[in-house]
Amino acid sequence: MSHTPFIWAAYSIGTVVLLWCALAPLIHKKAVIRDIRKLSQIEERNRDSHS
């Protein structure tokens, strides 16, 4: 039996997991920044309506 497919499988799983682990915080960061922008927009609107 050839061992090569197992090596390929192991390294692909490793790559996928490490890639996902590295990208997850970046995706989350986008959502956080969107959140912060929304927050400051609301604040500005409130300030405008008060003045």
Partner: protein
Amino acid sequence: MNTNATTMNKDKPRKNWLVMFIHKMGSPPWFYGFSGKLIPWLWAIFAALTIWGLYLGLVKAPADYQQGESFRIMYLHVPSAWMSMLIYTSMAIMGFIALVWRIRIMEILAMSSAPVGAAFTIIALASGSLWGRPTWGTYWVWDARLTSELVLLFLYLGVIGLYNAIDEPRKAARAACLLALVGAVNLPIIHYSVKWWNTLHQGSSISVTGGSNIDPSMLWPLLIMAFAVKFYYGANLLTRARVKLLEQDKRKGWVKKIIKERES
């Protein structure tokens, strides 16, 4: 309100330099800026070392006379298994600092470590069982290393689960840090008892690491890979910590300033 002007005691006990350094690191804008500059370098070093290590390990090194080609999984499995233990230890140390000195950045760093450690544990488990199939003829053997990696995964899942279950973020972090610390005290006991349990029940004779006399042509790529993943951990940890810091401080002035600067 009755504000009796209470004279504050100015000469506080002096803290040692390590605590001072950690406090400086604890200033969120400073940490955010500094880690932002550091991260690209860490990624670059990781990439360079990985390419070099994998080239030596997968292309240059000859096939093992005993295990054939499947030993090449070792360059992924062993560094991941080492990392999973190392990250747990580092998480527990950061958790200890966070608990004793109540330093928020340490809570964030400890909690950002957990998913990275869990990822390495999963890789160690997956690669270990893929190595087992051609070697032992089954995907899972209750081998000492795989079994303690499995228990370690449960420990990681416990920390992550507890952190996510509690609503208030600081309280959640403190609880999970304490759990990590308790787990770290138990980890050597678990490790040795599993090892001993394995010999008691006559486990397999060959393991992924093979014999003690590894050929230098096989050892070098292993060491390079083990070194490379530390930079992955560093880069990923700082990235996660930055996002968490941004999220927690979303109403604070320094975050708004950074977002404004990004826009312009």
